[in-house]
Symmetry: C2
Subunit: 325 residues, 2 copies
Amino acid sequence: LPLRETELIARIRDQARKLRTKSLITGIGDDCAVLRLPRGHELLVTTDFSLEGVHFRREWHPADAVGHRCLTRGLSDIAAMGGEPVAAFLSLAIPADLPQDWIDDFFDGLLRLAKGHKVPLTGGDTAESRDGVLADIVVTGSAPRGKALRRSGARPGDQIYVTGELGGSAGVVRALFAGAEVSPKMKEARRHFYPEPRIEIGRRLSERGLATACIDISDGLSTDLGHICDESRVGAVVEEGRLPLSPLPALLGIGDQSVDLALNGGEDYELLFTARTKTKIPGRIAGMRVTRIGAIVKDKRRRMWIIDRRGEQTPLLPRGWEHFR
Amino acid sequence: LPLRETELIARIRDQARKLRTKSLITGIGDDCAVLRLPRGHELLVTTDFSLEGVHFRREWHPADAVGHRCLTRGLSDIAAMGGEPVAAFLSLAIPADLPQDWIDDFFDGLLRLAKGHKVPLTGGDTAESRDGVLADIVVTGSAPRGKALRRSGARPGDQIYVTGELGGSAGVVRALFAGAEVSPKMKEARRHFYPEPRIEIGRRLSERGLATACIDISDGLSTDLGHICDESRVGAVVEEGRLPLSPLPALLGIGDQSVDLALNGGEDYELLFTARTKTKIPGRIAGMRVTRIGAIVKDKRRRMWIIDRRGEQTPLLPRGWEHFR
């Protein structure tokens, strides 16, 4: 290994040692990490790339936001299963000329979020990349046997819910593409730069048996609802007037695109779930607003529709998030 | 996602569905894979990059060998812990102009090895890379509670053993760098192009309680023995005359480098382990030759020495495998 990588590994190792959990038996420093799951729990595993130019741009995203968002991608998948995160693994390839400050800030952002969720960083790999920063995050988690929330459990008649607000994260991307400056320090823009995964909400949905199906909104509502329809073999109807629109597009001067962004914008990292009609869903879960936005319907072709404010029903096509190109 | 990635995911999904195991509850198609570990087992996790230009070259390595070697990197880490593989996850970033044939062959190589070890491919991510093929393999495994083989258990007086032969894989690399043509079809060269992870040997070492410490030789004997010394806080003495030298360097016309390659060549994917002197280690385990090559000694500075054929003892420095640049 080049000296730089050895240093990087040593640094990760030091940082990782600071956060010990009950699940962690052996962390970085052996051929594998050794972890223990709670008795009667199943293992959850998710992996997600964060690639420069695809998932972030160094000129738009501060390094600590890139680190934070990288881990959020994994934690949000654990949240969508109603699981508890157990440990994270980071494989990081960096160009030879990447400033050390950038790497430090990246780890600061990632490890701050990890600490907040008590997720130790227990392994990974490092390498030099020929072009751009490439991170691959793996998060392992656990859920009580048979209790993990699937995409496949939605049934005709179920109600469709989302947490929080939609379209804010993609609104920032669209504004940035249009040449606007969006400060990562702007309070409302934190949902884009430092999104919090909805771990606690997912856990409560699973624990209380509230949801029949669940997914996190990473690619956009239309695409992610499409995944639930595909896996559950059902259709869906969404009511435009019920969508919890983020105020962010309006603040950024693109308020006319709010509905499009809420439907097709990605990286909101909110939870989208379904529940039986008779199940009482609280208006807030873990302090976060929960909104009913539509219903699951019987449809062999697994189509989706949207009802606009005038009551007209038209097809809703999966037009989710596109990469940063 | 670009259409190509959607196709790629669909293909992985189809392939992965062909291999069902008892551990696999939910594979590709949800936010996380859901896996079940045998009762009383701990979780093992390892992640390894395989980067074009660093770990392989497209002009030297056939695509199916790249896929095979990518998975071997992960499986070999599970073997070094004495574990059983449970499931694999692949994150793959490919340049836009990569021929479809290359991708097909890559998956053929990876999935053939996976099938041989009954390891389902249960997730991952895909993306377009700006330069070169980048694969990150994650392998999860399990070992009975407290039975995983660590790097940290070697004690002064323990004997040092290796499986198989050393220096063959790096011999191929050195010959390729020197401009030689080495056919992947040459029987003796398979250890470089299609290395078999020593899963069964690791499992037996753990099951029978034979080894006090274990590591796989991925970076080279001198570097990997150094890891055991570091983690176990001991020194080591290796006898040059006892090294099981691969015949491959001689076949490739670089026989004079055999000892150097055995000590410092990487990617042999053999197991290096220590055992108490009184423990009887068979000459073969799971059909593979096992050779005693030296002994662990007390040394606070965790140094290593080599005794040459004339009986002279000199320091052995960690000079393991360097990347393909």
